[in-house]
Structure formats: C-alpha cells, structure tokens
C-alpha cells in the first residue's frame, strides 16, 4: 500500500538498541498533515515518548533522524535531515539539522524517519540498504574520526554511494555539545552526537534506490525552475553563493553584532583578516553543495603556509569564524581553518566549543581561572595555540577538557567562584554569533528559541540588513520604517513570531534556511503561500498559506509545551545581563541594551501565551488541534489559571 500523500516514503524505522530489534512502522497520514516531517516529527515523537524523568544520556531517551516531504524531490536546497532528542546540553527540546546527501538517500531507501531507543551492549552502527536493515558491529569504528568512519563504512560495504551520518570521539565520550557529522557537514547544536554515544551508536549508513514521486511532477519541476530564476537574479543571493556565509563576517562587524571577547564588544578590528573575501582570494579551491543545492556553502580550501600547509579543509562557516575567531580574539585564519577541521573530525559543535572556551578565557582574564586549573594552558585572548590544544582535550575529556566538555553553563556550576557572571548562555546553551544589542530581534529570538540560545529558530533577517522591500511585500507599509531598523525594538516581537513559524516549516519540510528561505527572503519570495503551493504540487495535500502558518504555529507551541513540561517558564526566557543591562561599548550599537521585557510581553501577547508565566492557555492548544497537550499539562498544573 502506498502512502496517502506523494513525496513521502510512508514508513518509519524503529530501532530498539537494547533488544537489537528493528521494526518498520507505517507513517500515519495524520502525522504528516499535522507535523509535516523533519523537526515536526521529532517534536511530536519527543512529546509522546520522552518525559521529564528521561535522562538525556539514558537509554530511554529517543534519538530521531527525520526528513521532510521535500527531501529527495530535488526541490532547490531541500537536502536537509534533522536529528532530535532531549538535549544533554540543555535538558530540554533538542534538534539540529544538517545538509548533504544523507537525507535524500534515506528517502530513496524508502523511509521518512529513523527512531532509536535503548542502548546497545557494544558499539554498533545501523545499515539501511533499501528494504534490508541491519545492526552492524562498530567495534573497529569506535574512536575513529567522523571522516575515517565514513570512509571505512563505504569501503567495508563496498559502495561509494553510501551516505553516512556519524558521531566522532566527542560523541563517544559524551561531550555535551558533540555533533552529528555527515559528508563534512554538521548537525551540531544540542549535543546530539553525545546521545548517539550514550546509545553506543556510532553511525547510520544509508543507501537507497527507490523512486520519489510528486503529485504534479511537471508543475513541480516548472515551479522549481521559476524559483531558481529568482536565485540567479538577486545580487545578495549571488554574493552569498560566491562567498558562502563568511561574507557576513565583515557585514556583521560593520553593524557591531559580533560576539567579540565573549560579547564584551561587537567590533573586531581584524575582521578583514578572517573574512569571506580573503578566504576566497587566498584559500578557496572550489564550491560544493548537497543534493539539489544552489547555495554551495561548502567551499573546500587549502592552507598554503606552514605550520598548517598542505591541509585540505573546508571554509569555516560564519558561525565558526565568529565562535572560534572573534569570540576568542583569534585572527590567525590558518589556525581557525585547522580548528574547524578538528571540531568536525572529532565531532564537536564549533559554536558551543568557542562559547565555552571564551567563557573560560574571560574567567582567566579576571583571575577566576589560573594555569593551575587549565593544565598549564595560557588561556589569554587571541591565543590560538590554546584553542588547538583544548579542542582534542575536550573531545577526549582529558584534564581541564573534562570540565569544558560539560558546556559553559554546567562548568560554571561545578566551578563556582563567581564564574557564572561571565556565562553567555540561554537555557544552558551558548549564544550564537549575534549580539542582540545590535539587532534587537536577535535578542528576542535567542531568549525564546525552543532549543536554547539560537538564531535559527526565528532567523529574523528582515531587519538584519534593513531591506525594506520584503517587509513591504509581506506586511505592508505600516511596519515601515521601524521593522527594518535593527536597533529599534518596535515590531520585533511580530517579526520573531512570524519567523519562528516560517522556520518551523523549513525544518519540517527539509528546506535549507540559508537558501530555501533566507535568500528569497530578501526579495519577499517563499512565504507561507509559496510553501502551500510547493506542498500541494509535491504531496497533493490540499493546504492554504494560512494552514501552513497554523502548522508552523502548532510545531512551535508543541516544542514550547515540551519545555513547559520540563519545568520551563517565562523566567527561563531570559538573556545574560550583559545584553540587558550593560550598554554596547562601541560601534553603531553603542549605548544600546536589549529591551527584552518589553519585547517579551508583546511576543507572549501575539502568541496568545500567558504574559506572567509564559505558559500556554488551553484555548490556544485546542485552537491548534493539540488539546491532548493541554490535558497533560493541566494534570501537572502547568496551564495558566486565567485563560
């Protein structure tokens, strides 16, 4: 029996690693209608199966790999797969997404998701070969880097087209911000690599040969080409494709939005030395992309000068150049390229790695940490050798690395001595490379994101570079000029709410935000109506733009409900005082703080949530068709008194 909707595979793999059992489960059509796929599926499965008692690193936690309906259809940049679990870094909802060729391969094999539970008694990996699924011995792979793991599996199984997603030594050693890597790209945030490690699961290898059919293939293909024409014409898009995300380095430095010295300031005088233009001029070999990619963020590079000469690596992304570069005051680009490579091979999230080390560096600067604590490492700003020494120590949990492996939030709790003062985290997660003081919408986005300090859950770009056209196209003149002004808190709650719904759909459909959404964002293309059209052409699901928005809202609310069940309230939607009380010291944002409370009130009001507690009223949940969530929360006393 084929699935009700096209473009879906219609099957989910369930693996119980404790018992060594594999079950193929038919996908419920209602699940597809209400949660679409990818991150939506992860949200629903985690809500249903992972409660507050679940230890993120215990066998009862679920580890979910999920793809959306567009994955494998060839839609421009729809190659992403999502990995999800209760996060060992934050203890709340966790998901992360990765591009490449793994996601489409899973669809070609005939599955929409793989759900792991339990813990294998010895290291294993899963081998999905169309209809044949096996749990394989991974004894020889344990301890190997992610690149080695992929190579060995392809060689052992004798097919170079096999796609592999694996965790590195950091995941095996339960580093709380370990990543999942596939084809040198990363699902890095939330420590999902550690969840793999905790289950003794080294990798998931996939090979598929089946058809992916769409409901209206001709119209789908034509619409695809129509969108591609948009890509080809927009100056911003072309620039972004040419340089990749590092083109943002100079731009973000200009708007003083950079996390320099653990967010002490937003301006890094050496931005040009580690920026996109220099990388392209002096390092780039070529461009590379995932299945159906038009953005080609992966740019293989080569380092020419000693001591790192001869290394074939890839261009670090904007976030990495920020987290390991400006955040640590490091301007040695060769070292940054090498550090990025180390993180990916060992399986570490570069953002949290940089965030944790920058916290430690600030503690060192203020005498809270000394060489006695750091195994003799000179943790001063700009010391790239310290960075290169620390990365393997973290991955292996050696000496001081064992403390840093817990993430800055836990490390500060373990250490005390006032080190909490320098924490730049939200809900236990290190803040990504956006200083909310220079872009108020980002401040709010970090405070409310379901997976902790994160820019990608709302991805408020409309005001980032102040482009007014898309705002006008979407919302009309009345939001101008305030919404386009990054330093003005007005209308930012509206922008963040809208963005969260759009991004939830992106993550659920398998679209890349960098090009599926954020690039056409500049021109106002790809909005809810467009997504509804794509869905209709691909799957045959009859949905309107309003339906799509509601689905996005449902996913956002269910992630929130998951976190509420874990005990979170409004008091957790906070930013470090450095953002809310200390004015930005220089640059265009000089004198600014994040007016968080004001924006939060407006955000809750727009969301229909209780402004005092941040809890979700029953009415809202019922309106979104997830009344069962209200029943469960009510039993726990987590529904606001006044509806």
């Amino acid at each position: 029996m084929s699935f009700k909707y096209r473009a879906y595979a219609g099957k989910i793999i369930r693996v119980n690693l404790s018992h060594g059992t594999i079950t193929k489960q038919p996908l419920d059509a209602k699940m597809a209608e209400n949660f679409l796929g990818g991150s939506g599926f992860i949200t629903k499965i985690l809500w249903d199966e992972v409660g507050p008692q679940t230890d993120p690193l215990g066998p009862e936690n679920r580890l979910i790999f999920a793809i959306g309906p567009l994955c494998g259809t060839g839609w421009p940049v729809s190659c992403r797969f999502e990995v999800g679990a209760k996060s060992p870094l934050t203890g709340i909802y966790g998901d992360s997404s990765c591009c490449g060729h793994w996601g489409p391969e899973l669809k070609f094999a005939g599955y929409d998701a793989v759900v792991f539970e339990g813990k294998a008694s010895k290291p294993v990996y899963l081998w999905v070969n169309d209809d044949t699924i096996k749990i394989m011995d991974a004894g020889a792979l344990w301890g190997k880097t992610t690149g080695e793991t992929e190579e060995i599996i392809r060689k052992d199984l004798g097919d170079h087209r096999i796609q592999v997603a694996s965790c590195g030594p950091a995941g095996e050693n339960l580093v709380r911000y370990a990543s999942v890597i596939s084809l040198r790209r990363a699902a890095a945030r939330c420590g999902l690599g550690a969840v793999m490690g905790s289950k003794n699961l080294k990798a998931v290898a996939v090979r598929g040969t089946k058809d992916v059919k769409t409901e209206y293939p001709k119209e789908f293909y034509d619409f695809m080409n129509e969108i591609i024409e948009v890509y080809k014409k927009d100056f911003y898009i072309l620039d972004r494709i040419k340089f990749g995300t590092p083109i943002l380095v100079e731009l973000m430095n200009e708007i003083a939005r950079w996390p320099v010295k653990n967010f002490q300031t937003g301006v890094f005088p050496y931005a040009k030395e580690i920026g996109g233009e220099r990388i392209r001029r002096e390092y780039r070999i070529k461009d590379r992309g995932g299945f159906g990619c038009w953005a080609t963020c992966e740019k293989p590079v080569r380092v020419k000068e000693p001591p790192f000469s001869g290394i074939y690596a890839k261009q670090p992304e904007y976030e990495t150049l920020s987290a390991l570069g400006a955040r640590l005051w490091i301007r040695n680009l060769d070292a940054l390229i090498y550090a990025n490579e180390l993180c990916d091979e060992l399986g570490l999230d570069t953002i949290s790695t940089g965030g944790t080390i920058s916290w430690a560096m600030e503690c060192y600067e203020n005498g809270i940490l000394t060489k006695k604590d750091t195994d003799g490492i000179e943790l001063s700003w700009g010391n790239h050798e310290a960075l290169l020494e620390l990365i393997p120590k973290i991955a292996k949990r050696e000496g001081f690395g064992a403390i840093l492996a817990e993430g800055s939030f836990r490390a500060a709790q373990m250490m005390g001595r006032g080190s909490e003062k320098y924490l730049m985290t939200v809900k236990g997660m290190e803040i990504a490379a956006q200083d909310g003081r220079a872009q108020k919408s980002m401040g709010l986005a970090h405070a409310v994101a379901s997976r902790g300090a994160d820019h990608l859950k709302a991805f408020p770009l409309l005001d980032e570079l102040g482009r007014e056209e898309p705002i006008k196209a979407r919302f009309g003149e009345k939001y101008l000029p305030e919404m386009a002004q990054p330093l003005n808190p007005k209308y930012k709650a509206f922008e963040v709410k809208d963005g969260e719904e759009l991004c939830a759909l992106c993550d659920s459909l398998s679209l890349c935000k960098s090009s599926g959404i954020c690039l056409p964002l500049y021109t106002g293309q790809i909005y809810f109506e467009d997504l509804a059209k794509i869905m209709k052409l691909a799957t045959g699901m009859k949905v309107t733009g309003e339906d799509m928005r509601r689905t996005g809202e449902r996913i956002v609310n269910l992630q929130r409900a998951f976190n509420i069940r874990e005990g979170l309230t409004r008091k957790d939607d906070r930013l470090p005082e450095r953002f809310t009380k200390t004015p930005a010291p220089e640059g265009v944002a000089k004198g600014h703080v994040v007016e968080l409370d004001k924006m939060l009130n407006e955000y809750y009001r727009l969301r229909g949530w209780d402004t005092e507690t941040g809890l979700i009223p029953r009415k809202k949940l019922e309106e979104l068709g997830i009344g069962y969530v209200a029943d469960e929360l009510e039993k726990m006393g987590k529904i606001p008194k006044v509806n």
């Binding site: 494998g72 259809t73 060839g74 060729h101 070609f108 170079h160 040198r184 040969t209 089946k210 058809d211 992916v212 059919k213 769409t214 293939p217 001709k218 293909y221 080409n225 591609i228 494709i241 070999i285 070529k286 461009d287 590379r288 992309g289 995932g290 299945f291 159906g292 990619c293 038009w294 080609t296 293989p300 074939y312 690596a313 890839k314």
Partner: protein
C-alpha cells in the same frame, strides 16, 4: 556536424547533482538517481564530476550490442528500446560506466544530449563542447603558464 561532449571541470562541479535531478524529471517525471542518464561521482575532499556518455566515435556499447539496438542519430548514440534485449553487454563494455540498465524495465538507458541538465547546473559550467576545442583551451592555458614562468625567469 562536429561531435560534442558534455563537459564540466571537476573544480567547477559542486557535486550538487542538480543535473541528475533535471534528467530524472525530464526523462522519467520523477526523482530517482538510478534512472538518471547523468550521475555525479563525489570522491574525497574536492573531487566532483558527472559521469555521462561521451558519444564516442567508435562506440564500444554500439559495437558490442548483439541486436544493434544502439543507433547513431546525428551527433549522439540512442538506444532503440524496441530492439534492446537488456543483456547488459553495453554496460559491461562502456569504459566510463556511462550507460545503465533501467531498474524497472531492464533496458539500456544513456544520455541523448537533450541539454536540460545544462540549464539546471547551478554554477552554469556544465556545457557542450567539441573535444578539440577543449584541447585548444588547454593548449592556451598551458602556454600562458609557460609564459608566466618565462617572465618570472626574465627570459622574455
């Protein structure tokens, strides 16, 4: 009419497989890389390149076909699916691995240079080129390099 090959420099190819996507939709109306007539090979940190029929002058596939199902149509070789018996000798004989058996009906499939992949190549570098022109491009590139060396050494 000169013979053209589909060509892209591996340093320009991004390995994104948009050519496979275009081919699969145009030829089959669905997405399946196993049914595409052009297939990208990605190896190591930097190498990407599509495998596709080069429309050889003396074509081993056509020569070896026991039922003469691979026919010359202008500048390309085309599989006559009425004649093809799906024996797979052409697949075995092709030195490039650029002809395959269709997974559903078992007959041979190969590129007929319809050009849809060219339009769908993100860097826009996949193109039809006469092999001799390619040689000429290489000649010039090589000459330029030599000239630079000579200039550096102050020979000229």
């Amino acid at each position: 009419m000169s013979r053209k090959i589909l060509y892209i420099d591996p340093l320009d190819c991004t390995g994104c497989r948009n050519c496979e996507i275009a081919c699969s939709y145009i030829k089959e109306g669905l997405m399946n890389p196993q049914k595409s007539r052009i297939r990208v090979v990605r190896i190591g940190a930097t190498y990407d390149s599509p495998i596709v029929c080069r429309q050889c002058e003396i074509a081993p596939c056509a020569k070896s076909c026991p039922v003469e199902a691979i026919e010359r149509k202008g500048r390309v070789w085309v599989v006559n699916s009425q004649k093809c018996i799906g024996c797979g000798i052409c697949v075995q004989e092709c030195p490039f691995g650029a002809i395959w058996l269709h997974p559903d009906n078992g007959t041979a499939i190969k590129c007929d240079q319809c050009g849809n992949c060219v339009k769908h190549c993100p860097p826009g570098k996949l193109r039809f080129v006469d092999p001799n022109d390619l040689a000429h491009e290489t000649e010039v590139k090589y000459a330029r390099k030599l000239m630079e060396i000579m200039e550096e050494k102050n020979v000229i």
